[in-house]
């Protein structure tokens, strides 16, 4: 079932950098969709459109539609706060907020008006378990999150998103700064997550793309070159450009 429908989406930043050119694609529910391609291809821009984080950036023009559950989220009347709770995001660098591990997790919930202690505690435990970090931090929840290792921090960031019980999770090269073991843990968490969430991942390597993709989309210079089943994409790509990239001939 399609969770997100993107129709003819175009975007250009004010400084003329990275843009999207007429992207149309459908993103399936309960699957990992991977957006890959060389840097500057528009992958991150597309992610940032899905939770309207581009509102923070100076955008010159933005056209097209993004339907999530049938509603156009680019509509000015959209409640962006509610949208961002529904569409969570994990960034390339693990950025824990300058507070304790627990407060990092409850931050979004408290903003949403949740004050009940029990609910908050339950959310902390549930989301940390889901992000596969509970065992490592359960005894130090009140310590500053910054004291954790990079890999642990990134999983706390993931848990922070999960605490809001989103429907869609965006991950922008979430393992780019991590060692292989931490990367493995994050990827394993992703595998669990897709049972209940729609996951959109910008991987940090083609290998990671191939490992994780149910569906894959290849972006080049703001254009969607090829989109289809993940397994087929990495064994038998249809487009020459895709093949060149996967084979490591550029990028």
């Amino acid at each position: 079932m399609n969770k997100i429908i993107i129709e003819n989406l175009s975007l250009q930043y004010s400084d003329g950098t990275e843009s999207l050119k007429g992207i149309s694609m459908e993103i399936r529910q309960n699957a990992v969709t991977v957006l890959f391609g060389p840097a500057g291809g528009g992958k991150s821009t597309l992610l940032r459109c899905l939770n309207r984080l581009n509102d923070l950036t100076e955008v010159r023009s933005n056209s097209g539609r993004i339907l999530i559950d049938g509603e156009d989220i680019l509509d000015p009347k959209t409640d962006v706060i509610a949208l961002r709770r529904k569409v969570g995001m994990v960034f390339a660098r693990p950025v824990t907020l300058p507070m304790s591990i627990r407060e990092n997790i409850t931050y979004g919930l408290e903003l949403a008006g949740e004050k009940r202690r029990a609910k908050l505690n339950e959310a902390v435990e549930r989301s940390l378990k889901l992000a596969a970090i509970w065992d490592e931090v359960k005894d130090r929840l009140n310590e500053p999150a910054i004291a954790l290792s990079g890999g642990q921090q990134q999983r706390v960031c993931l848990a922070r998103v999960l605490a809001l019980q989103p429907e869609i999770i965006l991950l922008d090269e979430p393992t780019s700064g991590l060692d292989p073991i931490s990367t493995g843990k994050v990827e394993a968490a992703l595998y669990e997550l897709k049972k209940n969430f729609t996951v959109i991942l910008v991987p940090h390597s083609v290998q990671q793309a191939a490992r994780t993709a149910d569906h894959a989309a290849f972006f080049l210079q703001g254009e969607l070159i090829e989109y289809g089943d993940g397994k087929k994409m990495f064994t038998a790509p249809k487009q020459k450009k895709t093949e060149d990239y996967i084979m490591g001939r550029f990028g």
């Binding site: 984080l53 961002r84 709770r85 969570g88 950025v95 907020l97 931050y107 903003l111």
Partner: protein
């Protein structure tokens, strides 16, 4: 030849370095000297009676309590107006304003506010607060005048502190469903607080030591009692020091040094607090 040149170059280097070092010392040593000298000279004047008594015998004897209390009132009054306004303006510049013509105009205005001579602030305060708004020569009028003078210091230091908070914190907070203001209040302000505090204290330190802006807006030559309301005029340490060192003949030197010392301690304490807050925050900062 080359060797000679090289030796020459090195003696020029040594001479130059020596000269610059000397200049820096000539600049700095008198500062330390001034402070130590007043500490030394004024120390013997300080007594419980001096700090808590009223002046008498035409200010040639007694204490300086009304001046101490007055400076305290003026500093607090200045803080009440300038701190919220200054921090809010800094938040606007750092978090909301885009780089357009209006923002540049605001920045130019702040630069100009910072450069206006303090005595001109006094004239302005006289024209607007004392006469036009009819606050009279009062703590209120003087505090308002000092507030506007202090504003640029508070705005600029606070803005710098706010801008030093990593952008990624804001992005993450927004992505978790926070509004812009929630992000500012819960993350940005909290992290920038030591920097803001440092700026606020340095600004108030200047206000506490100023004389010219309060000359015609709130300072009293001599008052037999403490001010009772914001609409009363007040004595103040810097003005009192000015008065007793230039306007009162046969003023005992001890009282002059004592007053200078109390003013200096007032200002130094604020300065040290600001410095300590800043360096502790730097040591603690993890981003």
């Amino acid at each position: 030849m080359m060797k000679l040149l090289a030796r020459n170059r090195h003696s020029v280097q040594r001479l130059g370095y020596g000269l610059i070092t000397l200049m820096a010392m000539v600049t700095v040593v008198p500062i330390v000297g001034t402070v130590l000298f007043i500490l030394f000279k004024g120390g013997s004047a300080i007594s419980w009676e001096f700090l808590t008594g009223f002046p008498h015998d035409g200010m040639r004897a007694g204490g300086i309590l009304p001046a101490i209390v007055g400076t305290l009132y003026l500093t607090i009054g200045t803080a009440i107006f300038s701190v919220p306004l200054g921090i809010a303006a800094a938040i606007y510049l750092s978090e909301y304003a885009s780089d357009n013509r209006w923002t540049r105009l605001i920045r130019l205005a702040i630069i100009n506010l910072a450069g206006i001579p303090s005595v001109v602030y006094g004239l302005f305060g006289l024209g607007l607060f004392v006469l036009f708004l009819q606050f009279g020569t009062s703590i209120l009028a003087a505090s308002l005048t000092l507030s506007i003078m202090t504003l640029p210091v508070i705005i600029s230091t606070s803005e710098e502190a706010l801008r030093s908070v990593p952008q990624s914190f804001r992005t993450v907070s927004i992505s978790l469903g926070a509004t812009r203001w929630q992000t500012i209040r819960r993350i940005v302000l909290k992290e920038a607080l030591p920097g803001i505090l440092t700026g606020v204290i340095l600004g108030l330190e200047r206000a506490a030591g100023e004389t010219a802006p309060i000359l015609f807006t709130g300072a009293a030559f001599f008052l037999p009692r403490l001010p009772q309301s914001p609409f009363d005029a007040t004595m103040a340490l810097p003005y009192h020091l000015f008065v007793i060192s230039t306007q009162v003949p046969e003023m005992p030197i001890q009282i002059q040094y004592g007053t200078a010392l109390v003013l200096l301690i007032f200002v130094l304490t604020m300065n040290v607090i600001a410095t300590v807050i800043r360096s502790r925050a730097r040591a603690k900062r993890q981003w």
